[in-house]
């Protein structure tokens, strides 16, 4: 599987976790999207650092080739899946035990 395919699968899995498995429904909440946008700014800055200096490099055959702030657009899917799944678990484990 290419980076593109795995990244799309990761986003789907994260959405399934948030919407159905844990039912945290973060993608319907302003608190999630606001924090995601803040994190996205930092992701673009750090992606630019890592790619413009060639600290991390990508195989051109494994990505569609569109880039944002130096990094493959697939990185946005990677970051979204990572953040949504972690925040969903964080909210899940913060729920009070219901009587």
């Amino acid at each position: 599987m290419s980076y593109t395919q795995i990244a799309i699968d990761a986003v789907i899995l994260a959405l399934l976790l948030d919407l159905f498995a844990l039912r945290t429904q973060l993608v319907g909440r302003k608190i999630f999207w606001t924090s995601y946008l803040i994190i996205l700014v930092f992701q673009l800055l750090t992606n630019w650092w890592l790619t413009s200096r060639n600290i991390v490099m990508y195989n051109a055959h494994e990505i569609i080739g569109k880039r944002l702030a130096g990094a493959p657009v697939e990185d946005l899917l990677f970051g979204f899946a990572l953040i949504l799944s972690v925040q969903s678990l964080w909210v899940h484990f913060g729920r009070k035990a219901r009587p």
Partner: protein
Amino acid sequence: MLKWSYMAMLAFTIAGSFWLEIVLKVRVLLRWKRWLKSILPIALLFVLWDAYAISRGHWYFDTKQIVGIYGPFHIPLEEYLFFVIVPIAAIMSFEAVRGVKKHWLAGDE
């Protein structure tokens, strides 16, 4: 100095988020059981993804710009730290928004 290039990005992420712990008192680090449970399963999956991607050459690292310590699956130490530091920063950001917008529900009230 060059070998700290990737580590500098991790230090930047810590600098950009961990101040929330003190200034906005998001109290994420103190709730260590909760963040450990939230991060470990996801970090494990991303490490497996990283291992596959590195083994297939999807991405690779400039060996002059990493410290040169490797963990399981020949994954650089920086990558392991990434999968802990970035999720903690993400949780701190989430809690910071909650701290400022107290009427926005997160689902765990």
